[in-house]
Symmetry: C2
Subunit: 334 residues, 2 copies
Amino acid sequence: MKYPLINKITLTAFLVLLPFARTQAQTDPLPSWNDGAAKKAIVEFVKTTTDKASSKFVPPEARIAVFDQDGTTWVEYPMYTQVSYCLDRVPAVVKAKPDLANVEPFKTVLSGNREAMANLKMPDLEMLVAATLTGMSVDEFNTEAKKWLDTAKDPRWKRPYTELTYVPMQEVLKFFRDNGYRTYIVTGGGQDFVRLYSERVYGIPPEQVVGTAGGTRYRYDKNGKPFLLKEPKLLLNDDNAGKPEGIHLMIGRRPYAAFGNSIGDRQMLEYTQAGDGTRLMMLVHHDDDKREYAYGPNSKVGTFTDALMAEAKKKNWTVISMKDDWKRIFAFEK
Amino acid sequence: MKYPLINKITLTAFLVLLPFARTQAQTDPLPSWNDGAAKKAIVEFVKTTTDKASSKFVPPEARIAVFDQDGTTWVEYPMYTQVSYCLDRVPAVVKAKPDLANVEPFKTVLSGNREAMANLKMPDLEMLVAATLTGMSVDEFNTEAKKWLDTAKDPRWKRPYTELTYVPMQEVLKFFRDNGYRTYIVTGGGQDFVRLYSERVYGIPPEQVVGTAGGTRYRYDKNGKPFLLKEPKLLLNDDNAGKPEGIHLMIGRRPYAAFGNSIGDRQMLEYTQAGDGTRLMMLVHHDDDKREYAYGPNSKVGTFTDALMAEAKKKNWTVISMKDDWKRIFAFEK
């Protein structure tokens, strides 16, 4: 069948003019960013790596951009969201196993003493993680965690945690995707946890979430139906050196752009930069104590040491100042 | 800017007629398949799950189809391709460490005695795998394995292994992708190995290859440049129950369609079937001793036991007969 109403000339004109019309209509892809070195670095990078005439052109299949989550795409202070989830789950865990009520660290968590909780050490946290995130099926975990995500609220903004994403970073994610990049979350947080909302919150499908991952075990229930049991066995500790290791395991390609905000992202940025051609490495700096938080080199979350700042300068990693580079932070603000 | 040469009517006509023209031009998506239950099952499944009017409609983001590799998308008999690679690498390994020449299993491999090699036991093979696939950087491994893939030839067909893929299965992969499914390889073979050629050979990008995976360790070379060292540490044994576990780890969604050919794929098919809605489970049966191979329930590769056949019947898994269902097998045949 031919196209009876269209002759070849109008068809060609349509196809030729459409992209031009699009270019004309193009607006600022990063409206929540102030003009400055950070915004310029992002726009230039995307422009040159997607320009076929550029020596820095990156073919579409190789366009991978990775984003840390906590402190990079959403609020992490004063406590990682997933840690809040684990703490909130403790009463239910103790209800199922009452003996735990008098055992640390459960006792401290049940006391409600925030200061004591904040001082829990790594082995305590690991016990809490094992008790609250493992020992159930993937489906059970998903149901519980989704319920919590729908109802729990951040104490400062009184909003669901999933509303605490940064608008400027959402714009970056979209800008990369609009230019053929596949965007991945590469987080120290739990892979199964982040996958529950990544599509809805970031437009990133579950299979593009790389996170700290525990093993599962294939089991059958009493009706012979198979399920996956979440085990307290760490497969991937997706932080520090674990980030490039996780990227290799889960993606198998070196990213062209990497965004982080702390020493836990250092190796991911190094690994990105060690590739051929042009690469983009950026760090969000939390220096805005009015609109969000300003936390220094000794912060328990998102540690941004002086050494990291020096390394960023030396290696040409661009530091994003929340205070100076971002016009707005949250979508619920005007 | 407007489109000066096109008025609204021609534009609308063009947009309305284009899909219709496409439908008219539609041809058989599986030309290498004989008509029969297997072909019908595939076509029906894709048609109903992508038809918005159907109760079995699957939204695009959930369209995941998984494919075992060895024996499902390419030849696995009499020896997995990657095992051939390991054996071929042994002389280079022994050259670097001459003491190994008198140690088993290296001694047997160096003897060239195919029968003795075929009788190597699992611990021997694990030693060979550790010696030939680990202890080097990811980049070094990639370089060596690519070189081998470009030059090594299958003894029967005298062609590169990557030409021994099944045309009917290539058609299935394309048919699924053309209908919005993301196709994944889920293989007991090494993830890093398969990723080297998956894009070129199957049109499947590296990030959509789930395979048996060892750990890597982030290291720096003497110039301070980071690299990933392949370690003899198993992270994921992607066979049997490891397949659903690997699918959860790497994809995080339950597939809607699963193709396998042996008892190693049983759990993957079970897991697929245990999901809601309509699912497709298929097994390639190697029953063609003329054009390829026919191997029975006691074969060392692709074991297809009588129990598996009974299970397939009971659970409505469709068995593909290479002999009866496939018109042609390889692209290099007419």
